[in-house]
Symmetry: C2
Subunit: 189 residues, 2 copies
DNA sequence: CCTTGTGAAAAACTTCACAGCC
DNA sequence: GGCTGTGAAGTTTTTCACAAGG
């Protein structure tokens, strides 16, 4: 969250940012931000604010985002395709290096520069340096596919299917249910 | 969240569900769920659990999801297209009735049964019964487009662009930043 | 002046424990 | 036996207030 906002400031050529400015942009309170940053180890300059480059470096370090992280994409449907070509992953240093699907129609085709492989050839992702996977399959197939990913040595799964999946606790799952996010809007309206 | 899990149970033909079962499925604690449901007004049956149909009805009521909610989609790029054809909105009673884009290449074409219109013809969405919008435009265009939506009388915006947008406080914004969600995974890995 | 950093107070949330009911 | 509903306890998070520094 911070990373996105601060990177934006860097692109605008800003060198320093105050907790107040960030608070306004992110709709938070300023002491909250200072407290968060103090957990990172303090490096703010009193009267000025925080150095943008230092902040980005430190956050990337804490999030273990140093260098490039390889990720696999499972599911080459419409959503999968949109994700494969989504430019936003670059900011966090992610690269989708392999794409898998079950459909024989799709296998062998390319999305961007990456060839779609059969899910049967998932193999050991860990050995190929892939620790993260993005799951863009129908809800019915999500659990089964997640289990394959775990077998393949994946450590984190971004689940785009509208369901919860159960995995060993050494594996971290983050679920995004787009319809659900839309569903809570009318409540506030 | 509950709606998704409970709807799934209904499709499976289950009539009643206990807080314990839901807790297991959603990875929560059972008193938590009972407390949430008690805010809805209590209607559990001691010794049995909660009636699935009653629960769904009540949750839809609280979320103001009764009937069909019309939504507009802004941005007919890859992500927009995937969202337009995303089947998951149905569960929550959403229907994307209008699609807009800036690109002359796309205007006039159809996604599914819905024609892509020029963003210039956004007009008064409120009068056409549209109170929600899904924003699937590049980050640079998000703020400007959001302002147009607010002018058009929209009350809730689901923002898929990787940035925060500022709107009058009568308008509710829900932001989904896919890359960010992926970005927090390595931290736990 | 402007900022950060932090202890203390307040609020929100989570968990526990158990009475009451089927 | 099983399960709900809820007050009380515990924990975490958020907010405030202010000393201290450029």
């Amino acid at each position: 969250m911070y990373l996105r906002a601060i990177s934006f400031l860097r692109r605008q050529g800003q060198d320093y940012v105050s907790s107040r400015d960030l608070a306004d942009q992110l709709h938070l309170k300023s002491p909250q931000i200072r407290k968060d940053f103090s957990y990172f180890g303090a490096f703010g300059v009193k009267g000025i604010g925080y150095r943008v480059d230092t902040l980005i470096g430190r956050i990337r370090e804490i999030l273990k985002l140093s260098g490039t992280q390889k990720a696999a994409l499972i599911g080459a449907g419409r959503l999968g395709k949109a994700l494969a070509l989504y430019p936003g992953f670059g900011l966090y240093g992610f690269e989708i290096v392999e794409i898998f699907d079950v459909s024989p129609k799709k296998i062998g085709k390319k999305i961007g520069n990456t060839k779609i492989q059969s899910i049967k050839h998932l193999g050991n992702l860990e050995k190929r340096g892939i620790r993260l996977a993005i799951l863009a399959v129908p809800a019915e197939a999500a659990q089964e596919t997640a289990e394959r990913l775990v077998e393949g040595g994946v450590r984190g799964i971004l689940n785009m299917a509208p369901c919860y999946i159960t995995v060993p606790k050494r594996v971290r799952v983050q679920t995004i249910d787009i319809a659900m996010e839309l569903g809570i809007l009318p409540y506030y309206v």
